[in-house]
């Protein structure tokens, strides 16, 4: 016990600490787009292998609709439930403890695994640079350094963390726009795109388009992470909707430009297997400046994604611990930096362990499926939210239009994406379902007894309708 406790005892009043409210809409944008933009630089193109170039474009826009629904629903609920934990906290208030536990775990697993995958990408990029100079580089120390450096940044404060994310994410986005301008000839010179020659009919028909939906998620996976900043923004009612919807618009533009440039430069048979399609497109244009720009863009996108993932995974873990869904010890706030420092520290070895498995495909599939389970939850969460707290009964920063159409569309598109995932990764889908069922049993039988039921609801909300 130090001076703080002594002073508190002397005044007879219990001193409290909280996360720092310093963020604005720009930081929310940087968090959401930062996590996602790496999906434009790599990963989305596997949808081309499933459905051809046109199939990938259909997947891009159909899954874009899914995420637009996610962004609208999230903006409404989070502008009201302004607490760290995002969808976990929403589930706790609106559905119940078991759903909250599962959603919290989806978030921690999805973001930690994505962080590991991003760090692996950074290691592989540096290894590729060394290979160009004829050297063999061990990527592992750079994977660990990426995770350690970003965790340190997160540990020291959320404002600097997300300001850095804004700068590197904006750079990565501008790099895509510059590539588009160069390829189309708008920025000077003629167009080098060969859409007329390269675009072909759907190679595997409509079933291929359906299968492409799973990889279409790469364009947008993680935009829902903006919710995790809710407790640290100066005005949740303004910043969360502005940052999330602005981020979604940015991603729709980036995804469409990416598809347009890559499908006009690379035949679909090669594009579907490329590791870094945007960088490959820049190389095909024969411009050293563009090649360097897109290489840095790829590196920055991976780093920004890992940075945002550390932020989000730690907030989800912290929130669960604060409510004793996980050991309460992890629910501590740093007295100087005002960050969930124990949660950040705890997740470092977890992320490194995932990264060292080297199983990039499985790690990402697990991450995507955890995300998909979260979106499915959102579709019925919003119905119950509107029923328990109808419009006018509670202050909302944003009200999404055409309810219940977005949640019906979201539910249907999630069902289609589950089917698409089952076609390609049936075993993984069943394994992850089994995993979450087992941990749910553990939570009910062993963990829930530690949860102090009254203490987890401290939000000054009106009583729900019907209670």
């Amino acid at each position: 016990m130090g001076t703080t406790t002594a002073a508190t005892a002397a005044s007879g009043k219990r001193e409290k600490i909280a996360l720092l409210k310093v963020l604005g809409p720009v930081h929310v944008w940087a968090l959401g787009v930062g996590i996602v933009l790496v999906g434009e630089y790599m990963g989305w193109n596997f949808s081309v292998a499933k459905g051809g170039a046109y199939g990938a474009l259909i997947a891009c826009w159909v899954i874009g609709l899914l995420y637009t629904c996610v962004a609208m629903i999230d903006s409404e609920v989070t502008s009201t439930v302004a607490a760290a934990g995002g969808q976990y906290t929403q589930a706790k208030h609106i559905i119940g403890p078991l759903m909250a536990f599962n959603v919290g775990l989806y978030l921690v697993m999805a973001y930690t695994m994505l962080e590991a995958a991003d760090a692996l990408v950074v290691g592989d990029l540096l290894k590729a640079v060394a290979a160009q100079y004829g050297a063999e580089l061990d990527p592992r120390p750079f994977v660990v350094l990426t995770i350690a450096l970003l965790a340190w940044l997160n540990y020291r404060g959320v404002f600097m963390t997300l300001t850095v994310n804004f700068v590197i994410t904006a750079f990565a986005f501008v790099a895509i726009v510059v590539l588009f301008l160069g390829a189309t000839g708008i920025g000077g010179g003629g167009s080098v795109l060969l859409h007329r020659e390269l675009l072909v009919d759907l190679p595997y028909g409509w079933i291929g388009v359906l299968a492409a939906l799973q990889f279409g998620m790469w364009y947008y996976l993680g935009i829902e992470g903006t919710c995790q900043a809710a407790e640290e923004v100066r005005s949740a009612g303004r910043s969360i909707p502005l940052g999330t919807m602005g981020g979604m618009m940015t991603l729709l533009i980036a995804a469409s430009l990416t598809w347009y440039v890559c499908s006009g430069l690379i035949p679909w048979e090669y594009l579907g297997q490329a590791t870094t399609p945007l960088y490959d497109a820049a190389r095909l244009m024969g411009s050293t400046e563009l090649e360097v720009l897109l290489f840095i863009g790829t590196l920055f996108a991976a780093v920004a994604s890992a940075n945002g993932c550390i932020n989000d995974a730690s907030r989800a873990w912290f929130s669960m611990a604060r409510d004793r869904y996980m050991p309460h010890w992890f629910g501590a706030v740093h007295p100087r930096y005002r960050t969930p420092y124990r949660a950040i520290l705890f997740l470092i070895p977890i992320a490194v362990s995932f990264a060292f498995t080297g199983l990039l495909d499985q790690v990402i599939t697990f991450s995507i499926l955890s995300g998909l389970l979260g979106y499915t939850f959102m579709s019925f969460n919003i119905v119950r939210f509107r029923r328990l707290w109808p419009l006018g009964s509670i202050e909302r920063g944003y009200v999404h239009p055409y309810h219940p159409l977005p949640c019906i569309v979201l539910g249907l598109l999630c069902a289609a994406t589950y089917f698409a995932t089952y076609l390609g990764y049936g075993t993984s889908l069943l394994s992850i379902m089994a995993f979450y069922i087992l941990v749910s049993i553990w939570f009910v039988l062993r963990r829930y007894r530690y949860v102090k039921r009254g203490e987890q609801f401290t939000m000054p909300w009106p009583r729900p309708k019907g209670y």
């Binding site: 130090g2 001193e15 607490a83 350690a148 604060r322 501590a332 420092y341 520290l345």
Partner: protein
């Protein structure tokens, strides 16, 4: 030792320094402040 090997060692070293710094700081915070204070954050409270 070539430059790439030196970079690998430097990356390992910097990683250990950063993680070590966080561990030492976390230990310092735990010994300086009471657990009740560190765990006093509640959702919806300033």
């Amino acid at each position: 030792m070539d430059i790439w090997t030196a970079l690998e060692y430097a990356a390992w070293a910097l990683s250990f320094v950063l993680i070590g710094w966080m561990l030492v700081d976390a230990r310092f915070v735990s010994t300086t402040y009471g657990e009740d204070f560190l765990l006093s954050s509640r959702e919806g409270e300033e």
